[in-house]
Amino acid sequence: MNPIKKIFDLLEYDFSDAGKFGKLGPLFDATKTFFFLPSPKTRLGPFIRDHLDLKRYMSVVLLSLMPVLFFGMYNTGYQSGLARGESLDFWSAFLSGAWVVLPIIIVSYGVGFFWEILFAAIRRHPISEGFLVTGMLFPLTLPPTIPLWQVALGISFGVVIGKEIFGGTGRNILNPALTARAFVFFSYPVTMSGNVWVAGATGVDGITGATALAVTADGGSSLTATLADQGFSLPHLFFGLVPGSIGETSALCCLIGAAILMITRIGNYRIILGGIAGLILTALLTWLLPGTYGTWADAGPIYHLCAGGFLFGISFMATDPVSAPGTNPGRWIFGFLIGFLTVILRVANPAFAEGVMLAILFMNVFAPLLDHLVMKHRISKRIPNV
C-alpha cells in the first residue's frame, strides 16, 4: 500500500466528527483529496460520469495562469534591474523577480486558506477548489511593491466579504479576487497607483514608473509617439516588458492563457471574444471622435488591447463562471459590455487610469439581470409544457 495513503488512513479517525481534531475535518479532507482523487461509486443514475471535476477544472485555470505568472516574475526582476541601471541576465532577473512575487503569493494563499478553512469548519462543508484560483489571481493584479500586510487584508476582504458571506463558492455575486483588488485599490490608493510599479526602485532618480495608461501626449505629438518615447512601444506592450501589475503586462501571455481556457472549454469563449469585440468596437468609435488628439481616446483598438490589464481581466477574471452570466447570450453581452466599459472608463474618467477592474465588477452585478432577460426570452420561445 502507498505509504502516504497509510498516513491518511491512520489519521482518518482523529479528523472525523468523533475524533479529537473533528473541527479540522475539512482541512484533512482537502489535503487527502489533494493527494488521492476521490471517486466514490455512483449511487444514482446515470451510473457513468464524466472525468471532469472541480479539481481538474480549477487546475486547468491554474495551468493557464502559468505563462503570466512566470513572465510576471521575470518582468518584475527585469524592471527593477532596469530602474537600478543594471542589465540582468535572464535567470538573475527571474530569480530577483521571484524573490519579490513569491512572498505576495504565499501571503495571499496562506491568509485566504485560513478563512476558507475557518468557514468550511464552521459550516461543515468541504473546502472548495475555487480558492486555488482566487488566491493566485489576486497577487497577479497587484503592483510588486505592495506591502504584504495589504495583501493579507485584501485577500481577507475578498474571501470573506466577496464570497463567504454570500454562502461560499457558487453563490458569490462578485469575483472574489477583483473584490479584493478593489478593496486595496480604494483603501490604499497610495500603494496602488503612481510610482509603485517597479520593485526596488525607491530612491532611484529619473524613474517615472507610471503605466502606459497614465501617459498622455503633450506638445502636439500623438499619443502613440509619446508612448513609444516613454518605453511603451507596441511590441513592448504586446510582449510585456513594461512596468505594471505583476501578471497583467504581457498581452501575449494573457492570450496564451485565454487560448488554453478556450480550447479546454474551461473558460467560456463567448465572454473573451465578446469582450475583445466590445473593446475593439468602442476603441474604434472613440478613435473616430474629433478633438481627442493625444489622449487615450485617440489610441486605437490595438493599443487599448495591449496596454493595461484588459486582456488579463477578460481572460481570467471575467470568465469566472460563478460571477458571470449562466446563459450564452448573456455571456456575449456581458463580455461585450466589459470591453465597452473598459474603454469608456479609460477615456472618460481621468480619476481611474485603469478601467477593466471596475468594468468587470460592474458587469458582475448585472450578470443575474442579463440571465433573467435571456431566460424570459427563452421561455417565450418554448412550447409551454405545464
Binding site: 502507498n2 502516504i4 495513503k5 483529496t33 493527494f35 488521492f36 482523487l37 476521490p38 471517486s39 466514490p40 461509486k41 455512483t42 449511487r43 444514482l44 443514475g45 446515470p46 451510473f47 457513468i48 460520469r49 464524466d50 472525468h51 471532469l52 471535476d53 472541480l54 479539481k55 481538474r56 477544472y57 487546475s59 486547468v60 468541504p126 472548495s128 477548489e129 475555487g130 461560499g168 463558492t169 457558487g170 453563490r171 480550447i263 479546454t264 472549454r265 474551461i266 467560456n268 463562471p321 460563478v322 458571470a324 449562466g326 446563459t327 450564452n328 440571465d371 431566460m375 427563452r378 421561455i379 418554448r382 412550447i383 409551454p384 409544457n385 405545464v386
Partner: protein
C-alpha cells in the same frame, strides 16, 4: 422520411457494443415480474407465495386502475414475493415447471381488428397485460385510455446506447409489426416511427414504415427527445409512446391470444461483444449477465436505467444490461495527470485528442461541490433545458418557474448529471420535481 439531427447529446464512443448475432438462452429455473422499473405504479398483489400460476395469470395490478394487471410470464409456483423498504413490492418470483400452460385469451385475426369496438380492444389489451407498454409523456406513466393521444411515437431503439438492434427485433416479425401499427392506428392517426441512423442499414424491409430518422448521439431516439423536436403545439405534450419490442409483444398477444413470454436482451461489458440473446421475460440477471467480477455494477441502462441486484430478475420494460467495471483505488494526484485514458466531453484531458472507443466505470470521478454555473449541463441537454437553473428553481420550491423553464420536457436521459463537474445529481433533482408534480396532478 424526415431526419432529426439535434446537435446536442452524448458524442463519446463507448466500448462494448453487442454483436448482431442472436442466440437463444436455456430455460431458466425462475422468472420474476419486477415492479421496480414501472414508473408511478401502486401495486396490489393478487397471488400468495406457494400458489400455482399459469402463463398469463395476473400477479398484481395497479391500484390506480385495477384493470391494468401484470401477468406471469411462466407456469409454476410463486416461490417468493420480495419487498423492499416500507414494504414496497420489488418482484414476484416464480419457480418454473418444465412445461408451459397458457391462460387462453382467444386470438384476434388481423381481419377482425377493424370490427372490434374501441372499448373492447382496450379491455382486451389491459386483460392481456400489454396495455401498460403504451405510455404517456411527459410523466411516462401508463397511457390514459380515457383520452385520445395527439400522436403515438414508436421507438425502434431502446433506452441504452446498446439496446437490442431493431433490425434483429424485426427481422422475423414484420407481419406482427405491421399489425401492431394497425392497432395503434385505432387510437390515433398520427404514428411516428423513429430509428437511429446507424440502425437504418438493417431496416430496409420496414423502411417504408419509418417516418423519422434521428441522429446517432444518445438520447436522440428517446421518445421525449423526439417529441421535443417535432412538436408544434402544446397539445402534443401528452403524446403516447411504445418501444418496438413491447409493440411486438402487444401484436403477438392479440394474434395468438397468449401472453408473450420471450424477449430479446443485450448485455454490454467492456471490450466484450456479446451476442443478442432471446430469453424468457423476467429472466434471472445471473443467467443473462454470465460471469462478472464481484465489484461490478450492473445497470439496466447506464444513463437512465436502475441499479440491478444480480440476484433479481429483469424488469418489465427492460431489455439491456450494462456491466460496469470495478472501481480502481483512489488515484494519486489524479487531477494533475494528463488523462489519456480519461474520457470527457470537456477538453480538460488529453483523451479528447484521441478518437478511440472508451470505457467508463461506475464512479463519480470527483466529489460533490456547489454549482459554479458552468453551463456544461445546458450544453449537452438534448431538449435545450437549462438544468442548473431548473435545479435552483426547484431548490427554492418554485415549481412554477421550473415548469416555465421547461421541466416537463426533460427526457430523463441523465446527461446533465453525467457531465456536471460539480457532480450534482441534477437528473435526480429534476426527476423528483417532475414526479412530485405528476403526483400532485393525479390528486
Amino acid at each position: 422520411m424526415e431526419t432529426l439531427a439535434p446537435s446536442k447529446g452524448f458524442k463519446l464512443k463507448l466500448a462494448g457494443k453487442p454483436d448482431t448475432s442472436v442466440i437463444r438462452l436455456a430455460r431458466p429455473a425462475t422468472v420474476g415480474v419486477s415492479a421496480q422499473d414501472i414508473p408511478h405504479i401502486r401495486p396490489k398483489l393478487l397471488v400468495k407465495e406457494k400458489e400455482a400460476v399459469k402463463t398469463g395469470t395476473p400477479l398484481f395490478f395497479d391500484k390506480r386502475d385495477p384493470a391494468i394487471q401484470y401477468l406471469s410470464p411462466g407456469t409454476g409456483t410463486v416461490k417468493q414475493i420480495r419487498f423492499g423498504a416500507r414494504r414496497r413490492l420489488l418482484e414476484v418470483v416464480i419457480a418454473l415447471d418444465s412445461m408451459d400452460d397458457f391462460v387462453e385469451f382467444g386470438p384476434l385475426p388481423s381481419a377482425d381488428l377493424v370490427h372490434l369496438p374501441d372499448q373492447e380492444l382496450i379491455d382486451r389489451l389491459k386483460q392481456g397485460g400489454v396495455w401498460q407498454s403504451l405510455r404517456q409523456l411527459p410523466a411516462r406513466d401508463t397511457a390514459d385510455s380515457g383520452t385520445a393521444p395527439p400522436l403515438i411515437i414508436v421507438c425502434l431503439n431502446g433506452n441504452d446506447l446498446f439496446s437490442p438492434h431493431p433490425g434483429r427485433l424485426l427481422e422475423d416479425n414484420i407481419p406482427q409489426f405491421e399489425f401492431g401499427l394497425a392497432v395503434l392506428k385505432r387510437f390515433c392517426d398520427r404514428i411516428i416511427v423513429a430509428a437511429r441512423t446507424s440502425s437504418m442499414e438493417q431496416l430496409n424491409p420496414v423502411r417504408h414504415l419509418i417516418t423519422h430518422q434521428v441522429s446517432d448521439s444518445y438520447p436522440a431516439w428517446d421518445p421525449g427527445a423526439i417529441l421535443y423536436h417535432i412538436k408544434e403545439k402544446a397539445e402534443e405534450n401528452t403524446a403516447w409512446f411504445i418501444h418496438v419490442q413491447d409493440l411486438l409483444h402487444l401484436a403477438r398477444f392479440l394474434k395468438t391470444g397468449r401472453y408473450p413470454v420471450e424477449t430479446m436482451v443485450t448485455v454490454t461489458r467492456g471490450e466484450d461483444k456479446k451476442p443478442h440473446m432471446i430469453a424468457r421475460r423476467g429472466a434471472p440477471i445471473r443467467l443473462l449477465a454470465g460471469n462478472f467480477s464481484a465489484g461490478s455494477l450492473i445497470t439496466s441502462g447506464r444513463f437512465n436505467g436502475r441499479k440491478v441486484d444480480p440476484d433479481t430478475h429483469l424488469g418489465f420494460f427492460e431489455n439491456t444490461l450494462n456491466i460496469l467495471p470495478d472501481t480502481p483505488e483512489d488515484e494519486m494526484f489524479g487531477f494533475l495527470r494528463p488523462g489519456l485514458n480519461k474520457p470527457t466531453v470537456s477538453r480538460a484531458f488529453l483523451s479528447c485528442l484521441t478518437d478511440r472507443e472508451v470505457q467508463l466505470d461506475g464512479t463519480l470521478h470527483g466529489e460533490e461541490r456547489a454549482c459554479i454555473n458552468c453551463s456544461y449541463c445546458e450544453d449537452i441537454c438534448p431538449v435545450d433545458l437549462m438544468p442548473s437553473f431548473i435545479m435552483k428553481a426547484l431548490h427554492g420550491d418554485d415549481i412554477e418557474e421550473a415548469l416555465e423553464l421547461g421541466l416537463l420536457d426533460c427526457c430523463r436521459c441523465g446527461l446533465c448529471s453525467f457531465t456536471c463537474p460539480s457532480k450534482i445529481e441534477l437528473t435526480r433533482i429534476l426527476s423528483q420535481g417532475m414526479d412530485t408534480h405528476h403526483k400532485d396532478k393525479q390528486g
